[in-house]
C-alpha cells in the first residue's frame, strides 16, 4: 500500500508544502532515502543531511527550513512518521483462535478475538483479555490475568501470580514473576524464603526482550501505567515503580526500591535496595545509585553526585597524578621557606 503526500499530510495532521501527488511506498533514514521514500528531519543536526538527501519527500519539524524538497511540516515528526509507518508497514494479522499445537487449560478464560500461537501454554484459571495475542511458545502461568490487547511475544514467560492492565507488550524471552532473590541462613546454609507476592503491571507497560521482573515476597512487585522497560533489565522483588518511568538497557534494581513517576534511568544504571528515587530524577549511564535521589535531580557516578559536579570531578581527576607531584614540590618549597624565614628571624 502506498500513500500520496497529500494523504500523508491529512493522516498526520501536518502542513503540506510542495507536490501533494508524490507517491511514498517506504520510509528510510534521511542519509539513505531515495525515490519513493519518505525521510524525516527532526532537528538542526538532521537538517544538514537533508541538503544532499534524495528522498521523494520529507517530514520536517515546524520551525526548520529545508530547501529543494517536497515537505510535510509537523510539530512532532516522530509521531508523524509513526502514523505513516502504521499504514505502510501493517503488522501481520493474527487469526483469532487457539492453534492445534497450543495447550490451553480448560479452566482458562479467553476473551474475544484472542489468538494463541503454536506451542504456547495457558495455565489453569488464567484470564486473557479481549484482542490479546499470545506468541509462539509463550508461557502463561496458572491464574495469570492479562488485560485487553496484551501482546505477549514468542517465548515470554509469565509465572503464576502476575496481573497486567490493558495494552501491555512483553517481548521475547522476558520473564515475569520468577522468584525474588530472598534467602535466610539456617545452620549455615542459604534457605529460600518463598516469594509469593507476584507482579502487577498497570496499563500500557512495555517490557523488553530478556528482561526479568521478579515476584515480590509477600506483596506484588508493581510497575505503573505507561512505564517502558528496555532489554535485559533486572527488576528485583518488591520494587514499586511509578508511571511513565523509563528503564533503559541493562538497568538493574535490587529489592524494595520506590522509583517515582517520570524517572529516567539510563543504560546500565544500578539501584541498590530499599531506596527512593524521586519523581522525575534522571541518572546518567552506568550510575550506581546507592542512596536516595531527590525529585528532579540529575545524577551520575557511584555513589551518585549531581551531574554537573560529577563532570567537574571527572575532569579534575585527570590531573590527580600531577597534583600529587606538585604537592610534593610545594611541600619542599615550604620546607625551604620555613628554614629561610627561621634563619632570618632574630
Amino acid at each position: 500500500m502506498d500513500l500520496s503526500l497529500t494523504q500523508i499530510a491529512e493522516l498526520t495532521g501536518g502542513r503540506l508544502a510542495g507536490d501533494g501527488d508524490r507517491i511514498i511506498s517506504r520510509v528510510r533514514p534521511v542519509h539513505e532515502a531515495g525515490p519513493g521514500e519518505l525521510a524525516f528531519v527532526a532537528n538542526e543536526k538532521a537538517r544538514a543531511a537533508a541538503l544532499t538527501c534524495k528522498a521523494e519527500a520529507l517530514i520536517v519539524a515546524d520551525g526548520l527550513t529545508v530547501e529543494g524538497h517536497q515537505v510535510v511540516f509537523h510539530e512532532n515528526p516522530f509521531a508523524a512518521i509513526s502514523a505513516v509507518i502504521a499504514v505502510l508497514y501493517p503488522e501481520p494479522k493474527a487469526e483469532p483462535g487457539v492453534h492445534a499445537m497450543a495447550v490451553v487449560d480448560p479452566t482458562a478464560t479467553l476473551g474475544e478475538g484472542v489468538s494463541v500461537a503454536p506451542f504456547a501454554t495457558i495455565g489453569a484459571g488464567a484470564i486473557i483479555g479481549d484482542g490479546s495475542r499470545i506468541g509462539t511458545g509463550a508461557v502463561i502461568g496458572d491464574g495469570v490475568i492479562l488485560g485487553a490487547r496484551a501482546r505477549i511475544h514468542p517465548r515470554a514467560v509469565i509465572y503464576t501470580r502476575v496481573t497486567m492492565g490493558d495494552d501491555c507488550e512483553i517481548h521475547s524471552g522476558a520473564v515475569l514473576g520468577a522468584d525474588g532473590f530472598g534467602f535466610t541462613s539456617v545452620d549455615g546454609q542459604h534457605v529460600k524464603v518463598p516469594q509469593v507476592g507476584g507482579v502487577e503491571l498497570g496499563n500500557d507497560v512495555e517490557v523488553g526482550a530478556n528482561s526479568c521482573i521478579d515476584a515480590g515476597t509477600l506483596a506484588p512487585t508493581r510497575i505503573g501505567d505507561n512505564t517502558k522497560i528496555d532489554d535485559l533489565v533486572m527488576i528485583g522483588h518488591n520494587n514499586q515503580i511509578g508511571q511513565r518511568v523509563m528503564l533503559c538497557g541493562q538497568v538493574g534494581l535490587a529489592g524494595s526500591n520506590i522509583i517515582e513517576d517520570d524517572v529516567i534511568l539510563t543504560g546500565q544504571t544500578g539501584v541498590s535496595g530499599h531506596l527512593v528515587v524521586g519523581k522525575g530524577a534522571i541518572s546518567a549511564a552506568k550510575t550506581g545509585i546507592l542512596r536516595d535521589v531527590k525529585p528532579g535531580h540529575r545524577v551520575a557516578g557511584t555513589p551518585p553526585m549531581p551531574l554537573e559536579l560529577w563532570r567537574r570531578v571527572w575532569k579534575a581527576s585527570q590531573h590527580l597524578p600531577d597534583m600529587r607531584r606538585e604537592m610534593k614540590a610545594m611541600l619542599r618549597r615550604i620546607d625551604d621557606l620555613e628554614r629561610l624565614v627561621d634563619t632570618e628571624a632574630p
Copy 2:
C-alpha cells in the same frame, strides 16, 4: 487452607504470646496487612511500622517488643514465615508422567515421579533424577544428568555435557552449557575454539531467570553446593565457583576465575578473567574486580579498593575541583613568599 496462631507457633517452633485461636489465611507485608493476615517484624525498622499495623497477628524476632498485637516470637522470622507460606501457598502438584506433546528420547532415563510438561524435550542418554519437574518448553540436551528433585522451569535450556547434583532449581530462560567465548586468530579471522568441558553443578544450586553459565573449554565450569545465582548473571567458561556463594543480579564473570566459598558479589559486580576471589570476600554493588581479592576482604570500585578507603576517596573526590583551584592559589602565594624572602635575604 488456614492456620490458627497456635498451629503457627507449633509449625515454626516459635513462642505464642496472645490469642492462639486467631485464624490466618494469608501473609502480607507489615504496612499492608489486615484482618486474617499475618505479617512479620524482623528488626527495629520494621517495628515502627508495626505500631499502626492492622494485621491479625505478627511473627516477631526474639528480643523485640511489639505492643498491642497477637504475636509468635521466633529467632528467625524469615524462616518462620517461610514455613507458614509453605502451608498457606502450596505449590501446585505436577502430575508425574510425560505430556503427550513433550519429546523424550527413547534412550533417556527418567526417575520415579518425574513430570515432563508440554513442549519440553529430553535428549539421548539423559538421566533425570527422581521427583524432578521439567517445565513447559524446557530443553534437556543429550547426555545431561540431573539429580533428584531438579526443578527446571519453563524454557530453561540445558545444553549437552551438563550435570547437576540434587535439589537444583533453574529458572526460566536460564541457559547452561552454551559455548564459552573462546576464539583464536587464524589468517586474521576469529576462529572458534570448541568448548567441550560442559558445566557441573553441585547440590542445591539455584540459577535465576535468563542467567547464563557457559561450558568450560576442556574441563567443566563448576558451581558448588548451595550456591545461589540471581537473574541475568553471566558466568564465563572455566570458572570454578565454591559453595554457598551468592551472585546477585547482573553479576558477570569472565573466564577461568576461582570464586571461593561464601563469597558475596552484589549487583552488577564484574570479575575479569583468571582471578581468585578469596573465601568470604564481599564486593559492593558495581565493583569491577580486576585483581585478586583476599579472603574476607570487602571491596568496592574499579579496580577495587578496601570498602572503607573507597568511601573516603569518593567523599574527598567531590572536593577535587576546589582542590585544584586552591593548589593554584597556594602556588602563587609560595611564589610571592619566595620572592619576598629572596628580596629580604642579604
Copy 3:
C-alpha cells in the same frame, strides 16, 4: 574415536617430537590431564604446570621447551587443539528434515539438508539456507532470511525483518529484531515509534546466549562479518557494527553508534548513543564510553580516559583523603609564613 600422536601431528600440521604411537582419546586442561589425554601449553605460564603434568601428550607452542613429554609443536596451539577436538568430540548429526512437531509455514523455503527440531516455528516467506539447523523451540519470523549453515540453537527468537549471511550461529535465548527502544511524547505519554528497520548480520557472526539485537527504526541494525558477540549483550537500535568486532559479556550499546572494524569491547562496557568507536579501539572492562573513541585507542573509566592515564589516576586517587589533609596543613604553614615574612618586612 581415538587418534595417535602421529595422526594428531598430521591433522594439525604440527611437528611431532616423541612417540607417535601414543593414543589420545580425550583433551583436558594441563593441570588435570592424565593417561590417554592430550593437553596444551600455549605460553610460559602454562609451561610451569606442564612440569608435573601427567598427560599422555602435549601440544606445545613453537619456541617453548617442555621436558619429559611426548609433544606436538605448533605455532597456534589453540587452533591445533580445536582441530583435535573436532575429531574426538564430533557434534551430533541432525537428521535433515522437519520434525512432526515443528510448524513450518507452507510459503517458507528450506534449502538442502536443513533440519528443523521439535517445537520450532518458521514463518511465512522465510528462506533458510542449505545445511542450516533450527533448534528445538527456535522461532524464525515471517520473511526472515538465513544464509547457508546457520546454526540456530534451541529457543533463539528471530523476529521478522532479520537477515543473516552464511555460517551464523545464534545461541539459545538470543533475541534478534525486537523493537528498538524508541518513543515520542504525545500528551505527556510515551508513545512507541514503530521500529521497522530490522537486523542485518553478515557472514560468520556468532551471537551468545540471551543476547539481544534490536531492530533499527527505519534501516537495519547491522553487524559485520566475523563479529563475535558474547552472552547477555544488548545492542540497541540503529547500531552499525563492523567486521571482526568482539563484544564481551554484558556489553551494552545504546542506539545509533558506529563501532568500526576490529574493535574489542570487554565485559560490561557500555556505549551511549550516537558515538563512533574507531577501528581497532579497545575498552577495559566496565568502561563507560560517553564520547567518541579514536581508532586504535585503549580506554578505561567513565567517561573513558586513555588506559595508562586511568591507571595512574586510580592509583593517585587512593591518596586523595590524605591529600586533602596535607593541603590544609600546607595552607596553615603558608599562612604562618606570610605572617612571619610580613612581620619581618621593614
